[in-house]
């Protein structure tokens, strides 16, 4: 067996390839992005693609699975929110082939707007979830996820946090399988979710949950490592590694399948130790489920924080383990903060200089340009989720009409394609007058320069049709669409000022490629 050093995301890609996956789709988002890049680079037999957003990516992957393929959808944790609508109903229909969804979570919010715990989605959507604790496990678990998906006709979630997705370790390479497509058979009662069918499917998936709970009790994905029985530690994901680091002598129940949970295994484990402690990142997901089973838990979120990522030190403190002391005196100097910033020569810079001088409310969005919220620009005043700027800006105008004249929405090209077009349609439909600035740097820059539908290039580097952003804006009904070069336009401020004052919707496309691209 060949072994190599791989990043967790490359290991996910490798497992996908070994599983004989046919189609993979996703939208870039830290820490998930490298999965599709590695698949495209290393597994040319897999048809991998960037989709405009996570919802579309999941629908494409689901369609492929219905056509009998093994299909993968990749996204960051908040991307699952975008894809949640199809997820919940694909859970009802089942998948025919194999469908695996990677949720790349970001405890600690290293590069995200929140640190939601996507284990909750598994319970909420009633789909199984596997959680590897290392890159090599990620490779193996993805293969097992495909098998589970096919065997039980369920979509399967695999969760990787930043500390696995962006961790490197030694990963084995096993044989790459090839798989025939299953046949798609028309079955409206299964695939057409009108209420009369959906009610029946709900009963089916509850039965499947019971079957899968039994699988969870017998799979090697969940295992007990017996040691000192004074305390039994229940843990999952990368937290398992911190437990092994600081308490190698402890009895540990390592959960690799966190939904459905293995009730009998947990009961037996609890019976073999004096007390349970649950060590998990973020929400008390496992802890609450164990308590709901009627099994006492001695410690959980009373000693493990529910905010931020875990570290070996936090786990050591919770388990009353000795920790090394600092021995270097604190530096008396105040160190200057070093936040990320827009690059020197960034084409976004002139816009934020202009917006700052105009002293407008800037309703921002997600991308490199969000850094304009920080010094020296301090020229962004809201930012929530992908595509939100356009609709939020319109909502402000609806509530307070003068806000159309003292505010602008600012959104990047990739984000606009992701989910900025439908709210623009809303502005036109409901007679708004706001100004939307589209920062078109011809790439998805913040996540590392991924292609998107308006760049004219696919994930694999092939030339394709490039979505024409000004034209699509015109097609929504906006009459005033301007395209400017931020380094050539002499009167950016004048243009923005005129457009915010004009009593009809305007689009300013600021077009200049990212200088790193």
């Amino acid at each position: 067996m060949n072994k190599r050093i791989m990043m967790g995301n490359e290991a996910v890609a490798r497992g996908t390839y070994e599983a004989g996956c046919h189609v993979a789709a996703g939208y870039p988002g830290t820490p998930s992005t490298e999965i599709l890049e590695a698949l495209s680079r290393n597994a040319p037999d897999v048809k991998s693609q960037w989709s405009p957003n996570e919802k579309v990516a999941l629908e494409v992957a689901f369609g492929s699975a219905l056509a009998g393929a093994r299909a993968l959808a990749t996204m960051k944790h908040v991307g699952v929110n975008v894809a949640a609508d199809p997820l919940f109903t694909f859970s009802y229909t089942g998948v025919n082939g194999g469908l695996v969804i990677i949720s790349a979570d970001d405890p600690g919010q290293w590069s995200s707007q929140n640190e939601q715990d996507n284990r909750n989605y598994a319970r909420h959507a009633k789909v199984p979830m596997l959680e590897p604790s290392s890159p090599d496990e990620a490779r193996r678990f993805v293969k097992q996820a495909f098998q589970l998906s096919e065997d039980y006709d369920r979509p399967v979630l695999v969760k990787v946090p930043t500390r696995i997705a962006h961790s490197r370790a030694i990963v084995a390479e096993e044989e790459v399988c090839t798989r025939e497509l299953k046949r798609f058979q028309r079955d409206p009662q299964k695939y057409v979710m009108i209420p009369i069918h959906g009610r029946q499917r709900h009963i089916v998936i509850e039965e499947k949950q019971t079957e899968l709970a039994n699988v969870s009790d017998h799979t090697a994905l969940n295992r007990v490592e017996w040691g000192d029985t004074k305390q039994g530690i229940v843990t999952d994901s990368v937290a398992y590694q911190y437990v092994k680091e600081v308490a190698p002598e402890a009895s540990v129940l390592k959960l690799g399948m966190v939904w459905p949970l293995p009730r009998e295994t947990i009961q037996d484990f609890a019976a073999g130790v004096d007390g349970l402690i649950v060590v998990e990142e973020l929400d008390p997901f496992i802890e609450n489920e164990i308590r709901a089973m009627g099994i006492p838990v001695a410690h959980g979120k009373d000693v493990i924080p529910n905010c931020g990522e875990l570290t070996p030190d936090i786990v050591a403190q919770a388990l009353n383990k000795p920790r090394a002391e600092n021995h270097i005196p604190a530096c008396p100097e105040t160190l200057p903060p070093r936040p990320p910033r827009l690059c020197k020569g960034c084409p976004h810079a002139p816009i934020f200089t202009a917006l700052k001088e105009l002293d407008l409310n800037v309703i921002g969005d997600i991308g490199c340009y969000t850094l304009a919220a920080l010094a020296p620009y301090n020229a962004m005043h809201t930012q929530a989720c992908m595509g939100a700027s356009v609709g939020m800006h319109f909502g402000m105008e609806k509530a307070s009409p003068q806000m159309a004249e003292n505010s602008v929405a600012v959104i990047g090209d990739s984000t606009f394609v992701h989910s900025g077009i439908t709210p623009l349609i809303d502005i036109v439909y409901n007679q708004g007058t706001g100004t939307v600035i589209i920062l078109d740097n011809r790439t998805t820059a913040m996540t590392g320069h991924q292609e998107h539908p308006a760049t004219g290039v696919t994930l694999s580097g092939e030339a394709t049709h490039a979505l024409d952003i000004p034209k699509i804006c015109e097609a929504t009904g906006v009459q005033r669409v301007f395209t400017v070069d931020p380094f050539e336009e002499e009167d950016l401020k004048g243009l923005i000022q005129t457009e915010v004052e004009t009593r009809e919707p305007s689009i300013i496309v600021v077009n200049r490629p990212c200088l790193l691209k």
Binding site: S111, H166, C331
Partner: protein, 190 residues
């Protein structure tokens, strides 16, 4: 188990240095793990990565005060990481300031004489003046491999594995320059 914190500023090549270090440890038959942060940190922010190797590595993160080595590509970033340094740990630091945007914007000051403070307060510190060496070598962009050279004398990894790792991971046209940088770094701490 050997624990190494790698620190610097986005764009200095910290993550490539981690990959070369890991590869060299892997060729030397160690288990090896690393954890790094991407995304926002790319844009000129602080970069921190943890590299661990030994017979069996569990956590990808190094506990507090447990680093055997800190390799910092920048002065102020070295000071930020000192909590990680173990009792007998060694700090290798590039004696150079990269001015953060907060200082450029006049919102903060870059302290003077951090190098003197490090020299006086960290028992095992190597302050490396690399600027002239990098000019002599003919590339400013080889700081990362130069710093690995400085570290390499203290690790139980044969020289040929370092060189193989550099050849494997550095772009072919930069390999010779980087091997020069590695050897220079090695000579600094020999």
């Amino acid at each position: 188990m050997t624990n190494i914190i790698m620190a610097g500023v986005g764009g200095q090549g910290v993550l490539l240095a981690c990959r070369v270090l890991m590869e060299a440890a892997f060729y030397s038959n160690y288990d090896v793990k690393e954890s790094e942060i991407h995304g926002m940190a790319q844009r000129g922010g602080s970069v921190e990565a943890h590299v661990r190797f030994g017979s069996d590595v569990a956590s990808p993160l190094i506990p507090n005060a447990a680093a055997d080595f800190i390799v910092s590509f920048e002065l102020c970033e070295a000071v930020r990481k000192l909590d990680y340094l173990g009792k007998h740990g060694v700090l290798f630091v590039n004696n150079e300031k990269v001015i953060p945007s907060s200082v450029q914007a006049g919102l903060a000051e870059y302290p003077e004489a951090l190098d003197t403070w490090l020299d006086n307060n960290v028992p095992n510190v190597h302050l490396l003046d690399t600027l002239q060496a990098r000019k002599d070598i003919g590339s400013k962009r080889c700081l990362n491999i130069l710093m690995l050279g400085a570290l390499s004398n203290r690790l139980d990894i044969p020289e040929e594995n370092w060189l193989s790792a550099i050849r494997e991971l550095v772009k072919p046209k930069y390999v010779d320059t980087n091997i020069d940088a590695f050897n220079y770094g090695r000579s600094c701490t020999a």
